[in-house]
Symmetry: C2
Subunit: 347 residues, 2 copies
């Protein structure tokens, strides 16, 4: 897997997708970014022994075996997944964490079951408010804290998939085999891999990965006071040409992707003069809920020179990608417009 990725750390495995592999609407499984807090389970999980436990505020706790999951109604959805910290290294002021550029994002078509179908079988108690997911991954670090994350019960019931299939293949080990949660349109931190247990709670789960990280807070502020990272902000990225590419005078196809999590992308504009003027790009490829839209702008580059090309997206709720994202200590959600310098020369 790692061959196609830019590895930032080996243990835990954190690796981003090189820009060339972001040019397709489908991100190949072997090129899909990988972000982990713990270690990937070392022995492949045996399907016959695997169980998914549902407990907590439910009338009937359940233990599902894999065959039961496979026999349930199937859901198929496209979903663009982005790491909460994607784009962190592009912030003008440094923030703590893995130095993602633009490659902590990818799109796949997933097959699985709706989490609501499982929760409905267990029957939520009236005071059910949050749903915590836990996986088989192995905690790293001296404190041995498990990666457990909760999402509100509304999100769990409305648009959270438990996926066993990714781009037509069984979910790969590094992406959570045999089953992972996908809170559609929300960042990867909300999408627990190697799922083992679901606990229904009244309030959000309390633990390191809920209270200390994946929250947006400023310098000197208490992490716990910050907003929890959930849905993706509106954002566009340029994947062609590459940063610093040298191109001949003539038509240059500028293209990229745009996404806004739970919200549709409505417009992408491109500037080839560092933001003085903007022109709408055309959309290309599939248009599906929760999935990125690819776009393209055919630029007639008539004169040699250096150019700064920019793109900015607007979503169907009117949110506009900002020139600069609001800085926060852990550098989450950087959706600022990034400058893409290229050189055009007479061929």
């Amino acid at each position: 897997m790692e061959k196609k990725l830019r590895v930032m750390s080996e243990r835990p495995m954190n690796a981003e997708t090189p820009t060339e592999h972001l040019r397709s609407w489908i991100t190949a499984n072997t090129a899909f970014f990988s972000r982990n807090q713990g270690a990937i389970p070392e022995d492949p999980i045996s399907l016959s022994e695997w169980r998914l436990v549902i407990e907590g505020l439910v009338e009937t706790p359940h233990s599902f075996d894999f065959d039961q999951i496979l026999r349930m109604p199937k859901a198929i959805v496209s979903n663009t997944l982005e790491c909460s910290g994607n784009g962190r290294s592009l912030l003008k002021e440094k923030a703590s964490g893995n130095p993602w550029t633009i490659g902590g994002v990818g799109n796949a078509v997933w097959g699985g079951v709706w989490l609501r179908d499982l929760l409905s079988r267990a029957v939520l108690k009236p005071n059910a408010g949050h749903v915590a997911c836990e996986g088989f991954d192995i905690p790293l670090g001296s404190k041995g804290v498990r990666f457990i994350r909760s999402i509100p019960v509304e999100k769990a019931m409305e648009s959270t998939l438990l996926a066993y299939e990714m781009n037509g293949e069984p979910l790969p080990v590094e992406h959570g085999y045999p089953l992972r949660a996908l809170a559609l349109g929300w960042t990867g931190a909300n999408c627990v891999k190697w799922l083992s247990k679901i606990t229904v709670l009244e309030k959000p789960y309390e633990g390191f990965f809920m209270d200390k990280v994946y929250r947006v807070f400023g310098k000197g502020e208490d992490p716990g006071s910050g907003r929890v990272v959930t849905g993706l902000p509106v954002k566009s990225i340029i994947t062609r040409p590459l940063m610093n590419e040298i191109l001949p005078v003539g038509q240059i196809a500028v293209s990229g992707a745009a996404y806004a999590g739970e919200v549709d992308i409505e417009k992408v504009e491109v500037s080839v003069d560092n933001g003085s003027t903007w022109t709408p790009a055309e959309f290309i490829g599939p248009f599906e809920p929760f999935a990125w839209r690819h776009w393209q702008y055919l630029w007639e580059a008539k004169e040699a020179g250096t150019y700064k090309i920019l793109s900015r997206a607007t979503d169907s709720e009117g949110r506009k990608q900002p020139m600069n994202a609001v800085w926060n200590v852990l550098g989450y959600g950087n959706n600022g417009v990034s400058e893409h310098g290229i050189t055009v020369q007479v061929s």
Copy 2:
């Protein structure tokens, strides 16, 4: 590649996708059916030496190198590809050819360039009527006839992609690396792989693979008098449960795919009583032009017994999948409803 496929012949390679791998909206590249008349080019084609020649009835014959293709405006499209002879072995009366069951079909998201963009650069002459495609594959058989196929210029200009990318990966060797034609919504025979030359003609290309095969004709009729196989007929297939599967009494999710080539699928109906009564299925997953739609019907199987389950599709032009397709000598286009026997038993 072949590991996941049911191989019908090795030389040429003809292999179909097992039913389990047809359950995803994306068919994985490694599980995608393979149908060839010639041998796959043995040495990988060198991208630096590769050229695509465009000649014939054009004002300016062209020779494109691969970099030129990559620099052109990109198109991304989903397209369900089906072999002209898919379903042949399910015809009640035997027809000549590879014994495809339902697995000569698959869906991918393809990246490439529009053929019209290349033809526009070469400028079609007023009498241009057909576009012949030729590949680097090696003819098999004593006559050494090359696999050359032509399509009408209207199809070439409107909706024919030259694809270099398949499901986010460079086009695999067995699927036509580095470039293949995709006449969207038309059968695989119209989608030449390992593309080397495009010749613009006034009339359809004349040759074995145009005149003797890929035509629909009856017993004793002249092959050349038959209709050329082009767009896919309206069809649905059941992929779950498997044929002859034994299932416990209770809810059974019956699911499958439906496709109609250039036309959208409008409705899929399911019968669990061998055609006496029909109920509409629900659609699941992406809905994109030229791509199949997946569907599902949740059946409450209350009584043990043997059942014949059927599915039938209707497209947005009102074409209905027939109970039995019109038989023809070479068994093309079998879109008849197929019987799917299963057993339900008390668990």
